[in-house]
């Protein structure tokens, strides 16, 4: 592991961060949804919200935000729901995913293949 595990995480901290909510409409965000800030943090804002807004001045994935914040993915999704609901971020959802057991179009996968070959 690159960093210390969250195994010793204080549950109270997670409770506080999310205001006691344990579930968000998580389906809104994939782990690789890219988040972009639409505004700067303002005084009085919850610190995690402010940190996300600073991090996402350029696009950044949900899973990277989770790693940088040292918070589980599901907790980050709850925080992102707050910011999305208030228009402070926008979300770029993945298109090239396998949905309903079907792979993306061959043209998309061809692009992936060529890009990897050209690395």
């Amino acid at each position: 592991m690159i960093r210390g595990a969250l195994d010793n995480e204080d549950p109270d901290r997670l409770y506080t961060v999310t205001g006691g909510r344990s579930r968000a409409d998580e389906s809104v965000f994939d782990m690789v949804t890219l988040i972009v800030s639409e505004c700067e943090p303002v005084p009085g804002m919850q610190s995690e919200h402010a940190r996300i807004l600073r991090m996402c001045r350029g696009p950044l994935s949900v899973v990277e935000i989770s790693s940088y914040l040292d918070l589980p993915v599901s907790v980050v999704k709850i925080l992102l729901c707050d910011l999305l609901d208030t228009g402070r971020i926008t979300a770029r959802h993945p298109h090239a995913a396998r949905t309903g057991g079907r792979l993306p179009e061959p043209e998309t996968l061809k692009k992936v293949l060529v890009a990897l070959q050209n690395l």
Binding site: S22, M31, P72, S74, R92, L109, K111, V112, A115, L116
Partner: protein, 204 residues
């Protein structure tokens, strides 16, 4: 917990135009080289995070009739490759152990495909992962990471794992970028061929 000095200092920012995140998962037992492979090809220093899930226990405590709640926590590493102006490929190194699969749907739905990284001396470690990937209908290839001179042919590996003939089985050295890149290219080529075949099939 460590703290970062500045949140705005994201290690390597994505292109402004980045808009489409893709997922590939590298599954394998402990010490088989998942993190090494992610590290070899990632454009960022590999990161790690975790996911937790609370679920009601399956069993009921006979003595108290109190139903348990258990929290499943899974940690995983990941890296990233920008493919073009829009597409960003995320590579996840995931432990193949049982509890991990509880979180598969939540974390890895939409994954294009998987690399099952195996160590020939511990092939049995990968049976469960192969079974689960088949269950989830996730296309996969098998890559044997050679730390030492292999004792078996790839055909023997294919037989031992009871793999269908169309599933690619290759050798790799997860420590080198070229070899790890070749593994991803092999998976991408396989996915492309599957997609092209089904596209043809669906028009008939």
């Amino acid at each position: 917990m460590h703290s970062r000095t500045s949140d705005s200092a994201v290690d390597a920012p994505l292109r402004e135009s980045a808009s489409d995140g893709l997922k590939i998962v590298i599954v394998g037992g402990f010490g088989v080289g998942k993190t090494t492979m992610v590290q070899s090809v990632s454009e960022i220093r590999p990161l790690s995070t975790e996911e937790t899930m609370t679920q009601a226990g399956i069993g009921i405590d006979d003595a108290s009739f109190v139903q348990h709640k258990t929290t499943t926590t899974v940690a995983f590493d990941f890296g990233r490759i920008s493919l073009d102006e829009q597409m960003v490929l995320y590579l996840f190194g995931a432990p193949g152990q049982e509890r991990f699969w509880f979180l598969w749907d939540r974390l890895f739905s939409g994954t294009l495909g998987a690399v099952v990284l195996v160590d020939t001396n511990r092939l049995a470690d990968s049976w469960y992962a192969l079974d689960r990937l088949e269950h989830h209908g996730t296309p996969f290839i098998v890559a044997r990471n050679n730390f030492t001179e292999p004792q078996h042919t790839l055909e023997e590996v294919r037989e031992a794992l009871d793999l269908p003939p169309e599933v690619p089985v290759i050798d790799c050295d997860a420590r080198t970028r070229d070899s790890s890149k070749n593994v991803l290219v092999t998976l991408a080529r396989y996915l492309y061929s599957l997609s092209a075949t089904s596209a043809v099939g669906s028009t008939v």
